[in-house]
C-alpha cells in the first residue's frame, strides 16, 4: 500500500517522465486494454503451459531419482558429484547452447524450467525420505514389509510435507526461469511480452507484465499452501 502511495505521489508530482514511470491509473488502463485485447491472457496461457510441462517433467524426474536413490543407494553415490555440479549452474546460462542444439522452439524453455525446478524438488523429496522416522520403519519391518512397500506405505506419506514444500519452491523457480528464458529466446509468453513492451517504449505494459508475474506467483503459492494444509493435516505431528 505504501509503495502504491509513493508511486502514485511520484507520478502525480511529475518527478519522472511518464515514459519512465507511468501513473498507477495509466498502468491500470493498459492492463484493462491488454486484457480486453486478450494479449495478456494469451501470454499468460503460453507461459503457464510451459511451466506446467517443465514442472511436470521435473516432478517425474525428481520422484524417479529419489526412489532409485532409496532402493539402490549405489546410484546416488555415482550421481552425487554430477548432480551437485549441475545444480550450481544457472539455467539461463544454458540458453545459448540449448538454442544451438534445439533451435528457438519449446524444448530449450522446457529444459531451462527443468534445470531450475528439478533440484529443489529432488533435494526436498530426498530429505523427506531420508528423514523418515526409523521407529516407524521398524513397524514396517515387524509387519514384514519389503523395501518398496516401506517406501510406498511409510516413507512417502511421512515425506509428503517435505515433498510439497519442494514442489512449491520448484514451481516458484519454474516461474522465474521461464520468464528469463522467454526474454532471451521466445516469440511469445509473459517474458517476451515484457521485453517487447520495453522495445516499444511501453513502460506501462512492462509494469503490467511484471505485476502479472507477481500475481501468478502469488496464486500458485496460495493454491499450494491450501493443498499442503488439506492434504497433510498431520504435518505438525511428524517428527514429534
Amino acid at each position: 500500500m505504501v509503495i502504491f502511495l509513493v508511486w502514485y505521489l511520484a507520478a502525480k508530482l511529475g518527478l519522472w517522465s511518464t515514459y519512465v514511470l507511468p501513473s498507477p491509473g495509466h498502468v491500470w488502463d493498459a492492463a484493462l486494454n491488454m486484457l480486453v485485447k486478450g494479449e495478456l491472457l494469451s501470454a499468460l496461457a503460453i507461459s503457464f503451459r510451459r511451466i506446467c510441462i517443465g514442472f511436470g517433467c521435473s516432478v517425474l524426474l525428481a520422484f524417479l531419482f529419489s526412489f532409485l536413490f532409496v532402493l539402490h543407494p549405489g546410484i546416488r553415490t555415482n550421481l552425487d558429484g554430477l548432480f551437485n555440479m549441475l545444480r550450481h549452474i544457472p539455467p539461463i546460462s544454458l540458453i545459448p547452447l540449448l538454442i544451438l542444439w534445439f533451435g528457438i522452439g519449446e524444448t530449450p524453455k522446457i529444459i531451462v524450467i527443468v534445470m531450475a525446478s528439478f533440484f529443489p524438488i529432488l533435494l526436498n523429496i530426498d530429505a523427506g525420505l531420508a528423514g523418515c522416522d526409523k521407529k516407524l520403519l521398524e513397524v514396517g519391518q515387524v509387519l514384514g514389509f519389503s523395501k518398496s512397500r516401506q517406501l510406498q506405505s511409510i516413507m512417502l506419506p511421512y515425506a509428503l510435507p517435505h515433498i510439497l514444500v519442494g514442489m512449491r519452491i520448484g514451481l516458484g523457480y519454474s516461474l522465474r526461469a521461464i520468464i528469463g528464458a522467454e526474454m532471451v529466446a521466445a516469440a511469445n509468453g509473459l517474458g517476451y511480452l515484457i521485453l517487447d513492451s520495453q522495445a516499444m517504449s511501453r513502460s506501462d505494459k512492462v509494469i503490467v507484465g511484471i505485476l502479472f508475474i507477481g500475481i501468478l506467483g502469488l496464486l500458485i503459492d496460495g493454491v499450494f499452501s491450501l493443498v499442503i494444509k488439506h492434504l497433510v493435516p498431520y504435518s505438525q505431528e511428524i517428527g514429534k
Binding site: 513397524v139 519391518q141 515387524v142 511421512y158 509428503l160 497433510v232 493435516p233 505438525q236
Partner: protein
C-alpha cells in the same frame, strides 16, 4: 505351539569405537503359549533381547530357533502410529485389502476406541494411542506377541486397564507373549514365568503357577517380590 529356543546369544554395540557387550551368551527355552516376562534394570539388555527375537537386529553369535508356523507381532514402548492414518486405519495398517471388518470393529470395542475410530493419532491421548497399537498388533493374528515395556509411559490407572487387557487376550486366544518390563509389580501381575536379566545374562528363572485373578498384595506375591529384589540385588 512348541518352544522358542535361544542358544548362546551374544550382542555388543559399539560405544566410542569400543565394543560394549549387552548380551553375554544367553540361553533359554520359552513356551510360546505362556506369558514370559523379561525383567531387569534399565540397560540390562531386555530390549536388545526382544529386538533380536523380532529380527529387528542380528546377533553377533548364537541362534534363535522359532517354532514352525510362528507369526510374531510386536508392540513397542511408544505407540509408533502413522500420523497420517486414523485410529482404524492404523489398526488395519499392512493388512490385506480383504481384511475382516467385523474383527476390526470388535477389536475397536475391545480396546474401547469405537468412538475414536476416525480420530488421528494427534487427537488421541497417550493411553488411547497405546491401545491403538495393541489393537494393531492383535489384528494380525500373531501367535507370539513381543511387548517392549508397552505401558511404561502410561499413568497408573491406564496401565492397570491395559494389563487387564493383556490377560484377557491371553485367556481368550492362548497367544504367547514375551513381555519386557522393569516394573516388578507388572511382572508379578502378568507372568507365567519371570526371567531376570542382569549384566547380560539370565540370572533367575521364576515360574508363577496361579490360576485366576492375582492379588500381588498377598503374602505369596510379597515373598516373590522379595525374591526378585534379592535377585536384582536391590535392598
Amino acid at each position: 505351539m512348541s518352544d522358542l529356543i535361544i542358544n548362546n546369544l551374544t550382542k555388543s554395540y559399539r560405544v566410542n569405537n569400543d565394543p560394549y557387550p549387552v548380551l553375554k551368551g544367553i540361553s533359554c527355552t520359552t513356551d510360546c503359549s505362556a506369558i514370559t516376562v523379561i525383567l531387569g534394570k534399565s540397560g540390562c539388555g531386555k530390549t536388545t533381547l526382544l529386538r533380536l527375537i523380532s529380527g529387528l537386529e542380528e546377533p553377533d553369535a548364537g541362534t534363535i530357533k522359532y517354532p514352525a508356523n510362528i507369526n510374531i507381532g510386536m508392540m513397542f514402548q511408544e505407540a509408533r502410529l502413522m500420523p497420517w492414518l486414523t485410529c482404524e486405519k492404523n489398526i488395519t495398517f499392512g493388512l490385506p485389502p480383504n481384511y475382516d471388518k467385523e474383527k476390526i470393529r470388535a477389536l475397536l470395542t475391545t480396546v474401547g476406541l469405537t468412538n475414536f475410530a476416525h480420530a488421528y493419532p494427534g487427537e488421541l491421548s497417550g493411553g488411547m494411542q497405546q491401545r491403538t497399537a495393541l489393537a494393531r498388533t492383535l489384528a494380525r493374528d500373531s501367535n507370539l506377541i513381543l511387548m517392549d515395556e508397552p505401558f511404561a509411559a502410561l499413568d497408573y490407572f491406564t496401565r492397570q486397564i491395559m494389563q487387564k487387557e493383556v490377560l484377557k487376550i491371553k485367556a481368550a486366544s492362548h497367544t504367547g507373549i514375551i513381555f519386557v518390563t522393569h516394573n516388578i509389580d507388572e511382572a508379578l501381575l502378568l507372568a507365567d514365568r519371570i526371567l531376570i536379566l542382569k549384566d547380560g545374562n539370565i540370572t533367575s528363572d521364576i515360574t508363577i503357577a496361579c490360576q485366576g485373578q492375582r492379588d500381588i498384595l498377598t503374602a505369596r506375591f510379597i515373598d516373590l517380590k522379595r525374591q526378585i529384589l534379592a535377585a536384582l540385588q536391590i535392598k
